[in-house]
Subunit: 415 residues, 2 copies
Amino acid sequence: MLSVEDATRLVAATIRPLPVEYLSLPLAAGRILREDLRADRDFPPFNRVAMDGIALRFAAVEAGQTEFRIESTQFAGQPPTPLLDPEAAVEIMTGAALPKGVDTVIRYEDLTFRTDAAGQRYATVQAYPPRQGYNVHARAADRRQGDLLVPAGTRLEPAEVAVAATIGAATVAVTRRPRVAVVSTGDELVPITEQPAAHQIRRSNALMLQAAAWQAGAEAEAFHFNDDPEALRRGLPALLEGFDAVILSGGVSKGKADFLPETLRELGVEQVFHEVQQRPGKPFWFGRQPGGAVVFALPGNPVSTFVNFYRYARPWLLAVQHPETAETLSLPTTALLGGPVAAVLTEDVQFKPRLTHFLLVSLQPGPDGRLLATPERAGGSGDMASLLTSAGFLELPPEPEQFPAGTVLPAWRFR
Amino acid sequence: MLSVEDATRLVAATIRPLPVEYLSLPLAAGRILREDLRADRDFPPFNRVAMDGIALRFAAVEAGQTEFRIESTQFAGQPPTPLLDPEAAVEIMTGAALPKGVDTVIRYEDLTFRTDAAGQRYATVQAYPPRQGYNVHARAADRRQGDLLVPAGTRLEPAEVAVAATIGAATVAVTRRPRVAVVSTGDELVPITEQPAAHQIRRSNALMLQAAAWQAGAEAEAFHFNDDPEALRRGLPALLEGFDAVILSGGVSKGKADFLPETLRELGVEQVFHEVQQRPGKPFWFGRQPGGAVVFALPGNPVSTFVNFYRYARPWLLAVQHPETAETLSLPTTALLGGPVAAVLTEDVQFKPRLTHFLLVSLQPGPDGRLLATPERAGGSGDMASLLTSAGFLELPPEPEQFPAGTVLPAWRFR
């Protein structure tokens, strides 16, 4: 049977970057950039005044001058007027462009002012600037025109939005959202607005997968099919053509109502693998429609569906939003793409079957900054309520059988 | 001057939970729940078959019986039919309700089948179940009818959505989104679609604040005012009435164009504080309009605006979405509400002024699971580009002056 490592590699091999779309900057927030953003001007674009006060020649201060006539006043947004008298000063506000003839700013807190009978104002320096250029944010101090600021492949977080705005990138190229069909199967499932009979339950997996796909930046639409091969044959083709990924739950085990693998193959979906050496989620089926969707057919027990979504489907959904296909193939286990972080097991764990074990855990930051993982007392892969008190799952390799407290293991977070 | 601790307490004192709204379950994903969700039935609601195989009486196996006549077949979603012959078995599928007369399931992998001349099927047990009830997820094993599953105040993550669907919570009570007006001020700022003159820059802070407010679950609309008290007096009242929070950037320092504190007071906004013992962001002004918005007037340097948003405004926006007002008052520094996590400084840092210092850092998980914080070489509070390479900021208290490598400090993450 396939190892988790091999299954991960086979899923990763289907990753292709999705097409680009062009969005206005506010709407692009949160998306993955697909073009390089470069500085259109120097950062800052001019010698920018960093404090309110007066601008003067440092040489005059050095020469011992303490009182300065205010020759003019300069606000932010005004074209700068050069200083005419080298022994005078310009009263100046934060954000203004430093005029010609001055090089240093002294803030109000370090000045006193007087006005003479003619109405002329004078400033007296109380605390001396330590160097030429003090309180001036020099042109090009941070970045030069043409510098690469935000490379393609970066998520547009608030800082990137600010920089994009500054360089006038009013429309940006980003990856369009992955389009996902989430599909529940099973005759025992009734809509959430209905009262189930004693032997029925409500459809929860599709809504869970939809919410999780949204969190991964996807558009997701929810569907349901009963355990009826004819209904699947009629309904699935449109989903396989119209979506980037089809994520099914249920119908992949060895039961008599588990038609999915056969029906998917009949519809032309190439099986990549069926069954992985893992618990929960051994019956996981994965395939791809040539020219169409990839298909994650996850086991229907809620914990299996949930854990396998976060282990395989979420990294896939994050990776196809990135442009670097080649690098992406090695990326699916990094935190950037929803991959695991290191966590410390807080108690001994034993697991005998030679399967990779996805162990639900709560996660708490420890006093020294390490992330502590405490196993959840879960009732198995049908115990949906155990997901409420867990924050993720540890990935325990098939060997050894014993994992003592203190072992550092990869933790996949889902909250 | 006010300490960061006191400023935090004064901001927290204005936190009131926002009103409730009722949303269909899919649309409520990501919101804060404002009602308790309880189990409408037991979890599971019936003795649920956990594997495909046959269901039989454990007593028959214990008595040494190895072959069982298949009396009937039971699919998930079918009303269960009781077993009539206590020495026979029911072929049964995962998700089915266990019929009366059987108590244990043996999976296909542990069975062989034969069919006699009359077409009657028989199963022979190859591996014995270790106990009565094996492969049956017993009714009420996880939760009982009436149990509290998801308390008010919980964010509806995918796991909560799944549980809400299961109990038929098709419409749920959640906090409506905070409504935020983000406002840039400054005559030097031109729209992002325009080519700035040499002494001008484009408006980036409002778009940055908008994206950051969205990330905190708010609705956010962007506005701009020039440094003109009359324009502020005309435009601000509608924002103070129509929004839960008004977040301004710029116009709060000591400069001649810094009209905001005075104008806000004229408009009836009560000043809670002005100036905090911190860098960057000393001129931070905070107030509240009686019966209206709270006002975060942040200094306009991009790093000041950014850091002070994450330090004060984001926790506020997260907290007002929560119902527990009393507890919330002590919560603004917890990770739940966007508060800091512990991180380890990777190099020595010196900071002399007796101010709380917000130090931009990159954050990397260390090999032992600890979060490592490396100071960013930033050019001061005007160096917007330094935000691109930082992941958050450390909060260094006013004393001591020296923070040796290895010190564990609170880190506020913004990515």
